[in-house]
Amino acid sequence: MIKHLRSAGDLDAATATLILDTAAEMAALSGREVKKLPALRGRTVVNLFYEDSTRTRISFEAAAKRLSADVINFSAKGSSVSKGESLKDTALTLQAMGADAVVIRHSASGAPHRLSNWVDGSVVNAGDGTHEHPTQALLDAYTMRSRLGRLDGLKVAVVGDVLHSRVARSNVLLLSTLGAEVTLVGPPTLIPLDVVAALSKTTKVSYDLDSVLPDSDVVMMLRVQTERMQDSFFPSAREYSRRYGLDVTRMRKLPEHAIVMHPGPMNRGMEIAPEVADSPRSTIVEQVANGVSVRMAVLYLLLGGK
């Protein structure tokens, strides 16, 4: 097993599949009356969150607690971080407290890589800047596999602000490793340079959502921040929505079996219409539930639970 999960690129197909299979076992547990496993009793998991993220932090916290780990939540707000303590000094503090795993969310790309130089424990990337969010990709893959029965050969459209999206990067890497075919869709300004060479040779790029939908098994809508239009990435929220938003009319172009995903938080009416988000095709709530199982699997395997 790998020691850290800093990038979805750290995972080969066998390891990724092991995590997904383990997550399925963990999910079965959540149907039981007593949801707790003793697997990580006596181990310490630190949630080190430099960015606000209720959803991801709670998900990791629930995962660690269901495995009986001791959980320490360390958020930048109200801690010594706001007094200007460096990441390195914080890392040394956590090291001294004997953290077995540090789950880090940070606004700077690569912060988990830096952290892993300074602590002995496992580092789990819970989202770093515009780089990656590997556990999100794992829970997305888990969701696709449980809804559609497979990942190999699946056609996945990832739509929106790929340039600034850590979810997109991790998804392209992981899905390609697991044999799915990813098409990145968005305005050219939001598709990063050399993305195919950078992430996966099997990835495709399209600027036309309507032409991609009829041949997609999965369409994953990324959050688009309206502030981006101030920086000339697109002219207005309405134009973005007209060209790249998923509304009911567009959803009808999808094949019967196709699902609609969103990592959240959603901008209803911007990249996704409320009717689509709440439709039976939508897996958005499922994704959240699956997040806990997948993160349990990641912590369990990284900390040598097997």
Partner: protein, 420 residues
């Protein structure tokens, strides 16, 4: 003090005896101290047109004295100190302070560079004439670290310095294209999720500036050229007869953006490390003379400014003590080329008389360095004379050892150690 440098090979020629007395290359004299230079090559003392000495302001990262020592150990006899100190070297007072500190250290000639604009802010021209006529005798002006982005201001600066044969050294970076930029824009920046610094941001400014220099009939120097596209712009400009010179750093001749993969900010520099294609183009340009000189862009940084997240780290790398070994490793022992690109041409661009002279002529000021090309060295940051440790070459084995350096006939380095 007189020296007899015995059996030295001047620029790779047959071994000969070289006498130094009264600060110059001389005829044989009695009583000279003998230095056995068997196997050593003599080069004119290296000249760096782009050094950051950090004093005044960041003496925790480097001082004029520690930077001078690093320079002498690297084979340099003159360095041009960039203006982005605190306070900025934008007045006669500050450039004279740096010049005086250099004299006091006495290890290399420290030639201050003056800022083009007040506070490097790019708004108002600094008193360039006052700096030119000060004791520091400034001839190169640069806002390095920042681009003189305003085209009108750049045009005026190019024109204005003609009155005292000055030159503007441009840090070519269109600031609107590099907002938030962290590394070269391309495959690697996309993979790492770091904001890209596109090559065109450099190329567009160089293209604009060579045309401005042509229009007003002025001399332009381009700092740290880093892209293949910039090389093409310069090649065309030179073919048109425009008076432009350019420098390349050792790190841009050797390292690529792939090194950012581990997010270690020791590899963060501005302009950023580029691709293998750019590295190859820069090497060829230096061979062809499209790029005139190797300049270190020696940029010391305190530990805390590098031991942090990539995005929070300051850009810059140490260079003085490794420049010649890097150039040797890239081009091999092509001594005439090395002497021209690292001593003769930079001395000419900076207007430093007495540097880059002909070591075979009696009367030439004795500014020279002796190199053992057969020796190899593993770069150990702890052993560097610089006050900072941010070398990107840690652990690398590099050819060439600087055995001795002489400044106007006085040894500044002997047996690989600084004399003071």
């Amino acid at each position: 003090m007189a020296y007899l440098i015995k059996g030295v090979s001047i620029l790779g020629a047959e071994p000969t005896d070289l006498y130094i007395s009264d600060g110059v290359i001389s005829a044989p004299v009695e009583g000279a101290e003998v230095i056995d230079a068997t196997g050593l090559v003599a080069l004119p003392g290296l000249v760096d047109v782009h050094t950051h000495l950090r004093e005044p302001g960041r003496e925790d990262a480097e001082t004029v004295e520690t930077g001078s020592r690093a320079a002498a150990l690297g084979g340099y006899t003159a360095v041009c100190a960039m203006a982005n100190t605190s306070p900025v070297a934008d007045t006669a007072g500050v450039v004279e302070q740096v010049w005086r500190l250099g004299r006091e250290a006495g290890l290399v000639d420290v030639q201050p560079i003056g800022a083009v604009t007040v506070g490097l802010a790019g708004k108002q021209m600094a008193e360039l004439g006052a700096m030119a006529t000060s004791a520091a005798n400034v001839r190169i002006f640069s806002d390095d670290g920042f681009c003189v982005a305003d085209p009108k201001l750049m045009r005026r600066a190019l024109e204005y310095v003609k009155a005292f044969d000055g030159v503007i050294a441009q840090h070519a970076e269109e600031p609107r294209l590099t907002e938030g930029a962290q590394m070269h824009e391309g495959e690697v920046s996309t993979r790492l999720g770091l904001t890209g610094w596109p090559a065109v941001a450099e190329e567009a400014i160089i293209a604009r500036d060579v045309l401005l220099a042509e229009h007003v009939g002025s001399r332009l120097h381009v700092c740290h050229v880093s892209t293949a596209g910039s090389v093409e712009v310069l090649r065309q400009a030179k073919a048109r007869g425009i008076r432009v010179t350019a420098e390349v750093t050792p790190h841009h001749l050797l390292l690529t953006d792939e090194l950012a993969a581990g997010y270690d900010p020791v590899f963060k520099v501005n302009p950023p490390l580029r691709t293998r294609t750019d590295v190859e183009a820069l090497r060829q340009a230096l061979l062809d003379g499209v790029i005139d000189v190797v300049a270190t862009d020696h940029a010391p940084h305190a530990v805390q400014d590098k031991e942090c997240e990539w995005a929070h780290a300051r850009p810059g790398m140490l260079g003085l003590e490794t420049a010649l070994p890097i150039v040797l490793s890239v081009f091999g022992p092509r001594w005439d080329l090395i002497a021209d690109r690292m001593s003769i041409a930079p001395a000419r661009i900076a207007g430093l008389e007495g540097h880059g002279g002909d070591l075979t002529q009696a009367g030439t000021p004795a500014n020279l360095t002796l190199v053992d090309p057969a020796a190899q060295r593993i770069v150990d940051p702890a052993e560097l004379a610089s006050r900072s440790r941010n070398t990107p070459y840690a652990g690398m084995t590099l050819p060439g050892r600087i055995v001795a350096t002489f400044l106007r006939g006085e040894a500044t380095v002997l047996d690989g150690k600084a004399v003071k």
